[in-house]
């Protein structure tokens, strides 16, 4: 009666490692994202200050958060794929 997955999936022995990595990366991003909200709340003038090359902190931080998400996603996928290949191969052999 339980709601089983839509497709059959093989055993994955790397779940624990992937979960730990996911939590660490999430916490890093959360910290940086909270920094943006913190500055916006307590030091809003700072966001209007020039950061570099005539661009203000709001622009650089905001764009940085978007680009960082994509880069961290790629890194996460790289390590997860490595964990899956290594650990699932070990168990098979």
């Amino acid at each position: 009666m339980l709601h089983e997955p839509a497709v059959e999936m093989g055993q994955d022995h790397s779940i624990q490692k992937k979960t730990r990595l996911g939590i660490i990366l999430f916490l890093i991003y959360l910290f940086i994202y909270s920094g943006f909200v913190f500055i916006g709340t307590l030091f809003p003038k700072l966001l209007g200050e020039e950061f570099s090359g005539g661009l203000n902190l709001a622009f650089v931080y905001g764009m940085g958060l978007i680009v960082l998400a994509a880069l961290m996603g790629l890194a996460y996928n790289y390590f997860c794929t490595r964990f899956e290949n290594e650990m699932n191969k070990e168990v098979k052999s």
Binding site: F26, G40, T41, M72
Partner: protein, 645 residues
Amino acid sequence: MIYDVSSTAIFIFIFFVLAVLGLSFYFARKTKSASGYYAAGGQINWAVNGIAFAGDYLSAASFLGICGMIAFYGYDGFLYSIGYLAGWVVALFLVAEPLKRLGKYTFCDALDSKFNSRGIKLTAAISTLVVSIFYLIPQMVGAGAIVTPLLGFPHWVGVVLVGSIVIFIVATAGMTSTTYVQFIKGGLLIIFSFILVFLVLNKGLDTTPDENYHQFISLNASVTDGKITAVDDNSYKVISQVNDKDLSFVQLEKEGIRSWWKLNSKKERPFLEEALSVTVKKDGTKLYNGEPKESRKFYQVGHIKSIKENGKEVEKTGAVGPFEFINKIEQSEIVRFTKKAFTADGDKVTIFYQNVTAGKDLLKPGLYYKLDKGATFWSILDFISLMLALFLGTSALPHILIRYYTVPSQRAARKSTIVAIAAIGFFYILTLYMGMGAMINGGLDIESSNMSAPLLAKTFGITLFSIISAIAFATILGTVSGLIVAASGAVAHDLMDKYMKIKMTEKSKVGYGRLAAVAVGIIAIVLGIIFQSQNVNFLVGLAFAIAASANLPAIIMLLFWKKTTARGIAAAIVVGMLSSLIIILFSPTLYEIYGYLPEEAPIPLQNPGIISIPLGFLTLVMVSLFTQKKPEPAAEKLHLEEVVS
């Protein structure tokens, strides 16, 4: 605003709609099973699913709403881009793979995978329905907004049109056709948005957006004790003056036509600045800048007042790079149009006056969410609440979560999320340029912020406008399809099949799903007409807050806290959903919709997340702790033996 209907626009629009319908017919013949209807058989390629994610997620709110909000308020609209994208980090790192492991067709499947609880089935299905309907409202509003300029139909026709097409798509082929509609639309949206931004940068900054742009004029005036006595130009006659706090507006008459102007009397030499106005006369007649609609005197606006380059004032810059564009905007002064409504001689007047704003103020938060000048405790709390809801809302949206069931493996779920983040992130970077582009290039319909992106395209020609509008329409089709699949799954699969235990064959499961799709579609049409005037992005923000409050505590705690119980999950969904709904219903925006003054709202908070999300988590923890199962005696004995040994 007043729009011209173009045959190119109609042709491209019909082509898009027919292509979408053709796709649905094609896949309808292949959809026979429940797995095919709800989860596309779980066999979609990860790259296709990734772009389909983008197509699903980049809704009317992202394209029409964010661009419009940036065009009207600058960086505050971009906050949504940042928050919407950041939400995918939660989805990727915490939710994507576990959810793929646990679920079958719906988000409820995953939540209920460990418990088989009727309480979870019921509450998760209701929450899916509520979130999907709240998310559907802005899509429908966006549909109406886009059809008006494209085809010349009134708003409600647009809503009915989208509703009918989507009901057809979903009721015929379910998730498979929805996936491919979303894939095509997601790809086209990103490509054409990039083209639009390229054109904006290539044009650069110019104090005259184009040769047809309306030239706003000023008139010198004589003022005594704050009251206008004469205008320098004798062809104008002063009719009346209305003072509202620090603002003063004057009605002038020339050749029998009356127009409204803003009086600037604080300067050394007082002068009148031309404004735009909509007047509803006592007899119901509507006048645009003092003339009937047919006279076409209500303009597309938005321009730069002054541009500085190396300290010198220039009229235009020529082509600029993406960073240079932002840098130049920061040094410029831009004319925004601010709305003011009042009654004069029994006529209802809505005036849009020129408001010169420094570029540096447009490129930091503060014009919509007051954080610096004019900030209050509640405005700051609203900002935090919004950023929290956007961050936590994405991974709690049922129509996004069901997309994890359309791919064959956890690895595919992860990879498709990364493709989605890259595609969506790139699009969100473009929103800042599209919004600012509309603001400075005469891309604003001051009556509807939702039209800024298509109107920006219009400044580059009717063909681009037609394509962008048709894509915007397809954008809505794609997202609405996903939402209706999620809602119909909640009704037919979670409620009827799993909760009420109605005996159904594979075929009848699909049949009930289709019926549910029709019912949800009709509700969405009605609500889309009621909420016509709201910014679609703001409405989606509310849907995110409800999703984050009702669903996220349940998902996160199920995955990461072993003591979570079925009752804890059900209670958290109910408390999170109700608390967010109550705050929204008593918020200033909803009070304005009810016809009251926003200041009279009992809860001065616009975004409920800061209260309702922690409340959802707290409820889950408390109820779970109170409803822990006592360990079986045998298990207790075993545990003791383990400890002793």
